[in-house]
Structures are given as structure tokens and as C-alpha cells.
Symmetry: C2
Subunit: 355 residues, 2 copies
DNA sequence: ATGAGCGATGAAAACCATTACATCGACAGA
DNA sequence: TCTGTCGATGTAATGGTTTTCATCGCTCAT
């Protein structure tokens, strides 16, 4: 028993295949009586159109490829939600590709595979939750002919191609650190993201800018390395112990959460002993102990905006990048400077910042 | 400038399209000299084969559909990882479909869409991280002709079709509760999952069985409702306050984490005042405060196994369901019964936690 | 009457690759 | 020299749909 084709339906309904196709796509141009006969035949045979044949003929797959660096990262899921809403409203399918955390051998192969999908015609366009300038993506696509349109989200640099959706990461980081400064903190450390990630530099820059604006000098020994993972948050605790900042600004929430549990186990209390700010406002940030002060990105909106942008490009319109607003969400992990802290302050005193 | 076809390559290389195709798929049967000429032409034109044409001709899409109830749930991502590894080893693409949390209007439309992909020939098979008996899936596929093979993972009932990969949820729940009983707990509550989910019944049954085996009678007022979300874990705190169990077994980790933060805010300490067991061992379970005792499912292995199963079915072999082992992971959220529990203790006063 | 206009339908080309089969030349064995 | 084999390549059918253009039978205005 093989899959019925449009021809089977046509035969049973006693019409031509053209009419069957019209019944399915432009029902109003075919006579009611005929339409009924055809739809009956469709039901009777259990017909479903062949997607491959359709794409081949239409030269379009009605699919959009979404490349995610790590599907396990809860940060991305809400973006995906926003994308999905807009995509399905437009009748498009989302093909999600997970490249896996970079630097692993596996991820390289997957990246290649996803680039190929794009070149293959498997997708009509792509949404990249990654830097389009990353070598794996940029090089093979640079002079590809007939490359479908691409919109990059979140991880975008100053010259990340023509169309991007992002927040002002530097500004957000600056706001986060300024919040700490306003609380009276003077020794503020930053736990950075992975070297290779473009967001790392942006958030670090924001951290430094905030210090500068408050008249302080960034101290290199308070810039801790990290990689966005729980473990590197835990590792940051050792550095914390060595350098004794009164507050830490983490480049993402996951690291902040890793720090939180390690600190707790070591008897260090947040925010009594140290204040913590994260970045992203992931799902669990509200139910950490204590709940996490962090930067919220309008994730769902970012996804939706990017998808709309892609659709407009597909419709032939001129693209324009979008920058969306962020929020500083103040929760329980930040408070004033602990008593007595700052005795040995290295970053020294200046009056409270503009607040 | 339009996409080059195989014909363009053939013309430039001065061969027939058949030879080009052979160069790409069975390079060894074509003369080295010819091969070089063809590969040069491929590079020169920037040719990529058209996926739609290929699927149409081969009657196979080299794609597997993975339907996930909620991509934001970290529980699923590791399963996806396991699937991906096996899939890409076999040269298959993963098409991930997120149906969204059930009960929302949107999810209905997406479910339909994914069923259609299956019937469409967009995928050669499907992995379902959901109950294949769910109405949205079962009804439209029941008598579809030429339905590709399907393997269900995790959320499977006794008659969930022929091929499934799962753990013994009832047994795991029983083990979790038995652990609490062994610690001396006698008033043990269960926070269940959503009604509609098949896992809910299985884990509840395990809870009851453990009580029964220990000679206790399950008390209906200690069976709290839940929906797998953070918020329902928080809501369970009110019920906890009313009914005073000395321990709670949650049907998943996310609810346990919701409870944890609410309890903390209310001054109730875990495990001093109440012991907590979750289910799933999600990423953040290790960095809760305190770290969460839970049931670990071999998620990556489940995904990989399911994918291998699907491949073997596609290869024409007879399928057989697989049941994988689970682990009880004992961490910091469980301890013996608090002193004086069982009286009308108002919890409050007791010495500071171990910090 | 006649032809223009219109609605409904059919015939056939086009989309691009894979693959069974045919062809061709060269070479070995008889 | 002839035949059989073999390796390399070409020819052409095939897959299922969409879409353009043609056709056909009407009606309505002239």
C-alpha cells in the first residue's frame, strides 16, 4: 500500500490533477460541486501532498532554519517561542538546528550541516542565534550564490551583516554595574563569558564603562574568566575568596547560579556578604535562593521581531536592524555593602555615583 | 543570478549530468581525471544540490522529526543531544517540533502541523517525546496510509504503540519515596504532574506503592496537585503549610525548585524542616540550594537508543521496546525527620542551619 | 446570428536530481 | 581476428506537484 498521489485523487474524483491542486490551494475558483467530489476523494484516499514535490516545483520550502548554539540553554527557548509564533502565523515551518556548545569536535560537523541546509534550499531563510561572523558560518556563505536571507539575533557585533536584532549589551552591563555602584559597592568584580563569544567583549566593556563613569579604574584582577557554564560560576568563587570584591557582575545567569550554590555551601551569604548580578533573566533566576538581580532581555519579542524582519525581506522589502530595550530586574541578590567591608579597599573611594 | 543546477555543472565539466551525480555520491566509479574536472566545475559554479529534487526522486527526506512538548524544559535538551549524535552519525537531519505546553490554543495548531509533516513525507520517521496516544497525535495518524515509523520516548503508557523507550517511572517514584521512608519520614506528600500527562499517574502509583509496601495508607490530602511548572511548586508550599508533611516527593525537579525558593523565603529550611525529592535531575538540580535529591533518567542514552531503534526500523528490522535504568541521586535536600515533628510544631525556632 | 467575455476545467511543461539500462572503447583470451 | 568482459560514461525515464496556456460551453450585448 503506497502513498496516494494527486493523480489517484484525480482519477477517483473524475477530474484532472490541476483541478485537485486548485481545490487544495485556491478552493474558490473551482465549482462547488466539483470541489466536493474532490475533497471526498481526498478523504477517501487519505491523500497528503508530497512536500518534496511541492518545494521542487515552487522553488521554496516554506521552512525557516533557526540555528541555536545550545538548545539546552534556557535563554534561547523563549526566543524560539517568539519566532515560532510569527513563523506559524505566516505558514512557515521552523527547522531548529543545534550546533552544540562550540569548541567540541561534534559541533563543527553540525555547523557544516546547517550551512548546507541553507545552500540546499531546505530553508528559505535563516535566523541565527549566533554571530554571523563566526568562521564556520561566514566563510562558506560569503560568496555563495543564491544564499537565502539571514537575520542574526542577540550575538551580533558592529558589522554582523545587514540585519540583526539585539539589545545594547554594553549599555545593559553598564546599567547592572551602575546599580551596584549606587548601592555603595566599590570593589566590583566581573565574571566574563567565553573568549570567543562576541557578547563577552560587549558586557565587559559595559562593566568597565560603568566603573569609569563613576570615576573608578577597572582593576584587571577583578575581571574573572568564565564560560557561561554553571561550573565556571563555581570556579569564580575561588577567585572571589582571593580578591574579596563586595559584589560580582556575571555575564550570564547560569554562572551566577553556580556561584550562588558554592557560596552557600561555603557559608557565604548573598546578599549579606556579597551582592550578585546576572544577565539574561532565565526562567530559574526568579527561584534561585536568593532570587537573582539580573538584566532581562525581551526574548520573545526579539524572536518575533527577527522573524518579522525575515518575512519582510522574503517579501522583497529593504531590511533594517532593530535594537530592543532591556530591563534591569532588581531582586534579592543585591544589597548595600556589608559592614566593615572596604577597609582594605583598593578601588578606593569616590562619592556615590549619579544613581 | 540564479542557483546553478546539476546541468550547469555538467555543461561546464563537459560531461553528462549522470556523471556529475556519480561524482557526488559514488566518486570511486568515475575516472580520476573526469572527477577532477567535475569537482572543479562544482566549485566554480558554487553548486549545491537541491534537497527537494533529491527527496522527490529518492522518496526519502533523510530527516527525522522530533516532537517535543516544550523545548524550554531543560529535561528534553539532553535527550535531544543523544538523538542528534546518532542521527548525524547516520546522515539524518533532525527537524525539531515544539508543540508548546499543552492546553494553550496555539499548541493545537502546531500539533496539527507536525502530524502533517509526517504525512507529508517531510520526515522519514518520528521520535515523539510525548504520549503517542495523545488525541492530537493518535487520531489523525491512526489510519493514515504510509505513515513513517515512530518511536516514543519517556511519556509512554502500557499500550503506547509498538516501540517505546522509557524508564520504569512507577519503580523510580517508589524508590524515591522509599528513600524518604528509610530516613524515617512517615508523613510524605506527593506533588503530582498535570492530569493529562501519563507520567503523572505512573509516578503517583509509585508513590502509593512505596507507602503501601511500608505498611502505610496513602492519604488523599497529601496528594497535592501540580503541573510541572515552577509556579505550582510554589503553590504547593501553601498546601505544605496546611498539611504538614515532613517530606515531599515532587513529580519533577522544576516544581521542587519552585517550592525550595518559596520555603526559603518563608523561613522554612530544607532539609532541616522538610525533606524534598524531585524527579529528572535537570541541569540546575545540582546547584539548587540545597542541591536536590532526585531521580536521574539516562536522558542522553534514551535519546540515542530511540534513534537507533528508529534507524533499525527504517532498515526493515523488527522493533522492540526498551526500558532503561534510572538512578536515585541523593543530594542535600533530604535528611532525617526533624525533631518533634508530628506535634503541632509551628516550625519557627530551631538552631541555625548547618551553613 | 455572431462574437466577446467569462467561468470552469484540462493538457502539458517545468522544477532538479537519481538510476536502470544502453553504449562505447579497450583489452585479454582463444 | 573475434568474442567476451569490464570500466567509464551517456540517455532517458521517473518522482509529484504547480502553473501557464488552451479549450470548451455559456451568456449577453450587438
Amino acid at each position: 500500500m503506497t502513498r496516494p498521489t494527486i493523480e489517484d485523487v484525480a482519477r477517483i474524483a473524475g477530474v484532472s490533477i490541476a483541478t485537485v491542486s486548485r481545490c487544495l490551494h485556491m478552493p474558490d475558483v473551482v465549482a462547488v460541486k466539483t470541489r466536493e467530489r474532490v475533497l471526498n476523494a481526498v478523504r477517501q484516499t487519505g491523500y497528503n501532498l508530497n512536500a518534496a514535490a511541492q518545494s521542487l516545483r515552487q522553488r521554496r520550502s516554506n521552512t525557516v532554519l533557526v540555528v541555536v548554539p545550545d538548545i539546552g540553554n534556557t535563554f534561547f527557548s523563549e526566543i524560539l517561542g517568539g519566532i515560532e509564533t510569527e513563523a506559524s502565523a505566516a505558514g512557515l515551518t521552523m527547522l531548529i538546528g543545534d550546533t552544540g556548545r562550540s569548541d567540541t569536535g561534534r559541533s563543527r560537523a553540525r555547523e557544516d550541516a546547517y550551512v548546507r541546509y541553507l545552500l540546499n534550499g531546505r530553508a528559505d531563510g535563516a535566523l541565527l542565534l549566533a554571530d554571523p561572523q563566526a568562521a564556520w558560518f561566514d566563510i562558506p556563505t560569503r560568496n555563495a550564490v543564491g544564499l537565502p536571507p539571514i537575520v542574526a539575533i542577540s550575538e551580533v557585533g558592529p558589522q554582523s551583516g545587514p540585519v540583526t536584532v539585539s539589545i545594547d549589551n554594553e549599555g545593559a552591563a553598564c546599567a547592572a554595574v551602575t546599580h551596584l555602584i549606587a548601592l555603595g559597592h566599590r570593589r566590583i568584580a566581573h565574571v566574563a563569558g567565553p573568549q570567543s563569544n562576541i557578547l563577552t567583549a560587549q558586557r565587559l566593556a559595559g562593566y568597565r564603562r560603568a566603573l569609569g563613569e563613576a570615576g573608578m579604574t577597572p582593576a584587571p584582577d577583578l575581571e574573572f574568566p568564565g564560560d557561561f557554564g554553571l561550573a565556571s560560576g563555581r570556579a569564580a568563587f575561588d577567585l572571589f575568596r582571593d580578591h574579596r570584591p563586595s559584589a560580582l557582575f556575571f555575564a550570564n545567569d547560569e554562572m551566577a547560579m553556580g556561584f550562588l550554590s558554592t557560596a552557600y555551601a561555603a557559608g557565604v551569604r548573598v546578599p549579606r556578604d556579597v551582592s550578585i548580578v546576572g544577565f539574561d533573566d532565565i526562567h530559574f533566576a526568579q527561584s534561585c535562593i536568593p532570587s537573582l538581580t539580573t538584566i532581562r532581555q525581551p526574548r520573545s519579542e526579539m524572536g518575533a521581531t527577527a522573524m518579522r524582519l525575515l518575512l519582510s525581506i522574503l517579501a522583497g522589502q529593504a531590511p533594517a536592524s532593530v535594537r530592543l530595550p532591556f530591563d534591569l530586574v532588581i531582586r534579592g541578590s543585591t544589597a548595600g555593602v556589608p559592614d566593615g567591608h572596604g577597609a582594605d579597599t583598593r578601588m578606593a573611594s569616590s562619592p556615590a555615583p549619579r544613581g
